[in-house]
Amino acid sequence: MKRSNSLRKSRNGGIYFYFGDHAIVIALVVFWVALFFTNSAFSSFSNYSAIIKEASIFAVAGIGMTFAVISGVFDLSIASQIALSSVVFTAILPRITPEIPGLGIVLSCVVIIIMGVAMGLINGLLVANLRIPAFITTLAMQMVYRGLAQFVNNSPVPISSLGNEYRSFTATAMEDVVRWQVGGVELFFGRGFGGTRLFGFPLFFYIMIALALIGTVILRKTGIGRNILAIGNSREAAHIAGINVPRTQIITFVMVGLFTAFAGIMMTSHHGSSNYGVPSGTEFTVISAVVLGGTALAGGKGSILNTVIAALFIATISTALTGFGIDNNIHGIFNGAILVFAFSINTIRSYADDAFVKFLANRDIKAIANKTAATK
């Protein structure tokens, strides 16, 4: 009885070989400290602030993706969603010229968010009603959204004919038009939106933290969030407990669309322009962040704050790689390797666990054998 107890404990991942739910936090701190002391390029505050800025976009998209992975699915269409948001954002912003400064930006943001929700809704309806695997549905939708983005970008009436003029116009609009007074602090949007600082941190940092907190509250403190967690744990149990599983699945995709829209707005203002091709591959970085952050691949548990930390971690590594002068082209290999690592952590862990259990069992058997030998 005692032996089986000790076996069970280690089987649950318990104490012997434990990455822990918050391993990523420790990893990030260790990594930052190490970089700080070993690399002169990393010993200034501005470097970390640049990393945070880069990471924040992935982190915000990662909040949405965390919902998806927790519910047991992936959304591979988010890069295209960002592309479409970005293109539409830059297309409508110059056309809105209201009296009140800043309102144009706000209205455009609202439009983009509504669009993001709509894209999530479409994905969700397809997945919940057609019963085809989510990853391949979203893979197909990714093409549709990207095609639409190209379409908007090249549409004959408008944008491409404006060319560089248009670009600079957008940039100007974003830089100069928008200037908000908030509690005595001036916030600049536009290229400034990306560049604005508050108490030394980029504005993006605060947006990221705010959205992460909102996401966490939704996940843990609302019926929607609990239902998403529940279907990720067991669809059958959720069904029996009276949860509307298809509807919850749809809401999950809406969540993804919502946060992806925020990421799209941030990405656009970061670059000061749109490009329907730029964020290709973003989905993989985002998924890596979610999985490295400890969200269970099979669904059911996860932490949004850890996703954010993992996004910082990945951004740090990629900045460090660039800092060490490593070929940009290798980043693809690196991204893939991170994914493989993230996805196989559990298996590696269970192999190690099995080995340990075997070791314990052998030891027990030997002890029993010794005992019986001794009593004889």
């Binding site: 609302t222 609990r226 744990n233 149990a237 029996i240 407990a241 009276g242 059911g300």
Partner: protein, 512 residues
């Protein structure tokens, strides 16, 4: 020394002894039955012999030599093939491919389909069943699939054939065919180990019978020297006075009326009443579809015909096409609660906290402006903790770190939180320790006294005997018995569960 000898086999699952020092022996070319109640360990023994499980301790001797059987291949090499109770087949492949997948005939690098189909057809014809070898497996009925499963085992042409509940899915004609197959094997000098819940079959075709009870070996008898009652006695083996019977309060008016409920292939013509404050047991052996009957009361299975009346209102009527309880959500809304038998996979949300597990069904009522009020959640938890004596370190503990009994209490509490008037519990004490078992039943009794109508499905007969007012007995999807508390007797229930009909219900309107 006998032909097959199992000596001192011990097998433990997660600290529970499934087999405790079991020794069995079989003679060459006999048909040897192994019987016992649910959970007696029959299937475990056979899985050890068939290479699916490996015994913790003990030895296997065949033909006088010790054998090491650690996987299916090793079992086959030692001349043992198994007809499994669960069907393992590949729906997309043809019957012949399913049978010969382990040993495909090859000619010049390619599969010799002609030979394969011919052999398979010959095998099936020899079994006296009407199945074409080239049909895709998915087009067969369940009983035909079972026959193919038997053909697969025979195709190995081994000296020992184990049949684990081979007739569970067969109809009368096919059972006859099976009898022929078994007789043929015996005539060829092969040994058949036959496991079945249907005692009649054992008396029809077996030479000897060994009995297991609670993982222990109880003895072996020649079929000629024992009758059905004595065999049941050996399987059950307890004195009735061992149990204290509770459930002595009176129950009230009818809450749930089920009439002629039928689902093709699962159960047919089920009728019963459930009363306010009553604890109704449903007994039956594994694979008798008793779970499916109650699942259709909770929207998990949609019946084909019949009627269900809940609190005076028709909630399901096959003829009128009414189904107001077509999903669990709707059933909950009508005051039906359901506690699953598979706690791990369809009961708990393993990675969520204990408190979250409790409140998940009533999030709507705990939220204010969409946000769940932690205080209401905690109040609910405190309330049930006091009522049910639940034990946990903190409310934020993951539920899978609690003991089985406490997990079960949480699931029960979750179901009760929806204010159900009819509570369906499947195997409420499966996999939990003795102390918690009696607590669970004490809780159920309290609930019944407060007016909840309770259905209990349990594989452990003494639980039903000690705790229920009445019990229904199901055999092969049909109601074969309705027994009142005064007449409870384990052997009587077993008689019904193995196919004899007894009706002693108050209304005695059984239509078997």
């Amino acid at each position: 020394m006998e032909y097959i000898e199992l000596r001192n086999i011990v097998k433990t699952f997660y600290g529970v002894k499934a087999l405790d020092d079991v020794s069995l022996s079989m003679k060459k070319s006999e048909v040897h039955a192994v019987v016992g109640e649910n959970g007696a360990g029959k299937s475990t023994v056979m899985k050890i012999l068939g290479g699916l499980y490996f015994a913790d301790r003990g030895d296997i001797y065949i033909d006088g030599k010790p054998r090491h059987i650690n996987n299916v291949q090793a079992a086959l090499k030692n001349g043992i093939s198994v007809v499994h109770q669960e069907l393992h087949y590949m729906p997309e492949l043809s019957v012949a491919e399913n049978i010969y997948l382990h040993d495909l005939p090859v000619k010049a690098g390619f599969i010799d389909k002609k030979t394969m189909n011919k052999n398979a057809q010959a095998l099936l014809d020899g079994m006296n069943v009407d199945i074409k070898a080239t049909t895709p497996m998915s087009l067969l009925s369940v009983s035909e699939q079972q026959m193919v499963e038997i053909a697969k085992a025979l195709s190995h042409d081994t000296d020992i054939v184990i049949m684990d509940e081979p007739t569970a899915a067969l109809n009368v004609k096919e059972v006859d065919a099976l009898y022929g197959i078994v007789a043929g094997l015996k005539a060829k000098g092969k040994t058949v180990i036959y496991i079945s819940h249907r005692l009649k079959e054992i008396f029809d075709i077996c030479d000897r019978v060994s009995v297991l009870r609670d993982g222990k070996y109880m003895g072996t008898r020649n079929i000629g020297e024992i009758n059905q009652d004595q065999l049941v006695e050996m399987m059950v083996g307890r004195e009735i006075s061992q149990y204290s019977t509770t459930a002595d309060h009176e129950y009230g008016e009818t809450v749930l009326k089920v009439r002629n409920l039928t689902k093709e292939g699962l159960f047919s013509d089920i009728s019963f009443d459930l009363h306010k404050g009553e604890v109704l047991g449903i007994a039956g052996l594994m694979g008798c579809f008793r779970e499916d009957i109650v699942k259709s009361l909770y929207g998990l299975i949609h019946p084909d015909s019949g009627e269900i009346e809940l609190e005076g209102q028709t909630v399901y009527s096959g003829s009128e096409g009414v189904n107001l309880i077509s999903t669990p959500r709707k059933a909950i809304g009508r005051g039906i609660g359901y506690v699953t038998e598979d706690r791990k996979n369809s009961g708990i949300f393993a990675l969520m906290t204990a408190r979250e597990n409790l409140t998940i069904s009533i999030m709507k009522f705990l939220a204010k402006f969409g946000l769940v009020r932690a205080r209401s959640e905690q109040e609910l938890l405190d309330d049930y903790t006091a009522k049910m004596n639940m034990k946990y370190r903190t409310p934020h503990q993951r539920i899978n770190s609690l003991s089985g009994g406490n997990q079960q209490k949480f699931i029960l509490a979750r179901t009760l939180s929806t204010n159900c008037r009819v509570l369906i519990t499947l195997e409420p004490t499966r996999g939990i320790d003795v102390g918690a078992k009696s607590e669970i039943f004490a809780l159920l009794e309290d609930l019944a006294k407060s007016g909840v109508a309770i259905i209990v499905i349990s594989s452990e007969l003494q639980e039903i005997i000690s705790n229920c007012h009445r019990t229904l007995v199901i055999f092969q999807g049909a109601l074969t018995g309705e027994i009142n508390k005064e007449d409870f007797e384990e052997t009587l229930i077993m008689q019904c569960a193995t196919g004899n009909e007894v009706f002693m219900g108050k209304e005695a309107d059984g239509n078997g």
